[in-house]
Structure formats: structure tokens, C-alpha cells
């Protein structure tokens, strides 16, 4: 009943995994996009530089999904049933949305 803030904030696992995944994703996508854009600005082969930008954008789009998967893995490892379930529902809903979107 008393303030449990400090005790509750003692699960560094998920935060660390999420932060690492997000940082890897943002840095690699930013690098690819920057390289591709620079190549376009200096009029190098348009098709190749556009592909590099697209690769960076794909990595960016996948990063949040990876974050959920990474969190799921941490919760499974910690034996946290409830949060494992939450992550699964989120992933299923995302896949459901994808499937619905692709059938239009």
C-alpha cells in the first residue's frame, strides 16, 4: 500500500534489451539512409542509392517489432506469465493487422 516505486523499478532486463535493440535499429537505419541520401545528392547511381535508403527504411520499420519480440524473450526467461501473454497478444494483433492490410 505504501509507495512501491523503487521496488517495482528493479527489473532492468526489459529496459536494457529494448534500449539496445532500438539503438541498433535506429543507428543502422540512420547510417543507411544517410549514405543513400548522400549518394543521391552527389548524383551517384540512382538505383543503388535508392535501394540503400529503402534498406534503411525497412530496418527502421522492423525495429519496434523486434523490440516486442525482445521483450517477450526477457519475460519468458523471467517466467513472467502475464507479460509474456501481453507480448503475444500484441504480436498476434500486429500480424492480424498485417494480414488484413495485405488482403486489400
Amino acid at each position: 500500500m505504501a509507495i512501491s516505486g523503487q521496488k517495482a523499478a528493479a527489473t532492468p532486463g526489459v529496459e536494457l534489451v529494448a534500449a539496445r535493440l532500438l539503438r541498433m535499429g535506429s543507428v543502422s537505419s540512420a547510417l543507411l539512409i544517410a549514405i543513400g541520401l548522400a549518394a543521391t545528392l552527389f548524383s551517384l547511381t540512382e538505383a543503388l542509392s535508392v535501394s540503400v535508403i529503402t534498406a534503411g527504411l525497412i530496418i527502421l520499420v522492423c525495429t519496434p517489432i523486434l523490440r516486442v519480440v525482445g521483450s517477450l524473450w526477457v519475460f519468458v526467461r523471467e517466467g513472467d506469465l502475464l507479460y509474456t501473454l501481453f507480448c503475444c497478444i500484441v504480436l498476434l494483433a500486429l500480424m492480424g493487422g498485417l494480414w488484413m492490410g495485405s488482403t486489400h
Binding site: 509507495i3 523503487q6 529496459e15 529494448a18 534500449a19 539512409i33 516486442v68
Partner: protein, 275 residues
């Protein structure tokens, strides 16, 4: 050149998005369609990608600062993702103009509430409900502006989840306002500190935008020379925005939120009346 202009404008959008817990879409879409005269589909697709950029760019810093609450985020994401499915299912079934008008009014009312609460720095007397205790939603962070450790609790978790479901449905149907809804729900219903609400919202919006972005990608609406500079600029802006946000007082963030809510309200009411 267009690419350079897009890049610099996007830095601003990313910074504002990171500070207020929004995706920056309310800036990006009008800029692309009105200023650059781009097709709405390309603009919306670039905006969706930029929301992921804001989310990812800001989340790294907010996780380190312990401002983004991952448990709250994952719990509420159950609501938003299932809601987004509902929204996609309902698209074309409900009269969107009515929804736009309704939610425009709701946003205007929220702007009023936020203005009224502008002097509030931290929530007080928040008793955690049973669900928030079971799910360990409480947390703490060090507030740089106040120079102290802040311990906080969450309350009315089920109501918060319900509003998240609604916000996901609305975002799936109408395409805007998702970030604002999240911040409002966490701030007004679950009574989290405003900085935790905005940071956690930032953490969450990436997931919801990822699903729509993948669909836009397969439809070919993501143009690399548009979405590229926008995403890169937003990433840079989001990182800068986090540095600014941690130094701001909660009351300042509340005050900054008011005109943004008014702009969203106007955008929604406009669509409700004129489409």
C-alpha cells in the same frame, strides 16, 4: 533542394514529437501535402515511417532516464493493437466525418482540461489500483528540472486500457491523434506524471505505426526520397528533443501541449465538416 528542406523541417517535427509524446505526424502530413504538394498517400506513408523514427529515436534516451515505463507500455499496447484491428475492420462501415467531428470536439475539450491543469507539476495522492499493483506498473525516475527523485503510482488501469483500445480504433480509422490520446489517457485517467506519460507514449507509438508502415511499404506508398530525409531528420530531431524534454518542468510540457491539442482538434473538425 527538396531533400535538404524535408530533412531540416523533419528535425523540428521530431523534436516536438519527442518532447510531447507525439509522432510528429500532425506536422509532417500538412507540410508534405500543403507545402510540398505531395500526394496524400505518399505523405501519410512517410508520416507513418516518421512516427517510428520519433519513437525509436526518443525511446533510447527515455529508457535510460527511466522515464518510459515499459510495463505500462506493454500493458497498454494490448489495448492499442487490438483497437487498431477493430479500427481497420470498421473502416468504411462507420461515417468517418461524424467520428472526425466527435473526436475533434473531444480534443478541444482535452485542450481545455490540459490548460486548466497547466500549473500541476506532479500528480498527488495517487492510490494504485489492484491491477496496477498486480502488474507492477508503479515506477520512479529522477526529474532533472525538479532535481529530485519522483516515485509514482498508476491508478484506474482498466479504464486506461479501455481508452487505449478506443485510441487504437480511432487511430486505425482516422489516422491521426494516436500519440495525443495515449498521453491524455495516461495523464488524466491513470494519473502518471506528465513526463512519464509523454515518454511512455513515445515508446508505444512505434509499435502501432509499424503495422501500418509495413502495409504502406507493400503498396509502394513509401517513397525513399521522401520518407528517407523525413525519417532521418525526425531521428535527429527526436534525439535532440529528448535532451530538451528532460530539462523541462512538467508544467511547461502541459502548457506546450495545449496549442498542439487545439491544432489536432482543428484538423479533425476540418475533416469532419469538409469531407
Amino acid at each position: 533542394m527538396q531533400i535538404i528542406g524535408l530533412f531540416f523541417i523533419s528535425i523540428g517535427a521530431g523534436a516536438i514529437g519527442a518532447i510531447l509524446g507525439l509522432g510528429g505526424g500532425i506536422i509532417i502530413v500538412p507540410v508534405l501535402t500543403l507545402l510540398y504538394g505531395m500526394d496524400i498517400r505518399i505523405s501519410v506513408a512517410a508520416s507513418a515511417v516518421s512516427v517510428i523514427a520519433t519513437s525509436t529515436g526518443a525511446a533510447v534516451a527515455y529508457l535510460k532516464e527511466r522515464l518510459a515505463n515499459t510495463r505500462v507500455a506493454i500493458f497498454l499496447e494490448v489495448g492499442t493493437t487490438v483497437g487498431a484491428l477493430t479500427g481497420a475492420l470498421l473502416a468504411g462501415v462507420l461515417a468517418e466525418s461524424i467520428l472526425f467531428s466527435l473526436f475533434g470536439l473531444l480534443m478541444a475539450y482535452s485542450a481545455f482540461l490540459m490548460y486548466r491543469a497547466r500549473k500541476t507539476e506532479l500528480p498527488e495522492g495517487v492510490t494504485p489500483d489492484a491491477i496496477s499493483q498486480r502488474l507492477r506498473l508503479a515506477g520512479s525516475y529522477y526529474d532533472q528540472a525538479l532535481d529530485r527523485l519522483v516515485l509514482y503510482n498508476a491508478t484506474r488501469s482498466l479504464a486506461g486500457l479501455g481508452v487505449m483500445y478506443l485510441s487504437g480504433t480511432v487511430a486505425g480509422l482516422l489516422g491521426i491523434g494516436a500519440g495525443a490520446f495515449k498521453v491524455l489517457a495516461m495523464d488524466q485517467i491513470m494519473r502518471l506524471p506528465i513526463k512519464v506519460s509523454t515518454a511512455t507514449s513515445n515508446f508505444m507509438i512505434g509499435v502501432t505505426a509499424a503495422a501500418s508502415s509495413m502495409i504502406y511499404f507493400t503498396r509502394g506508398d513509401v517513397q525513399p526520397l521522401v520518407a528517407g530525409p523525413v525519417a532521418l531528420g525526425v531521428l535527429v530531431g527526436a534525439v535532440l528533443g529528448t535532451r530538451i524534454m528532460v530539462r523541462l518542468k512538467g508544467s511547461t510540457i502541459r502548457l506546450l501541449f495545449v496549442p498542439v491539442l487545439v491544432i489536432i482538434a482543428i484538423q479533425m473538425l476540418w475533416k469532419g465538416v469538409f469531407s
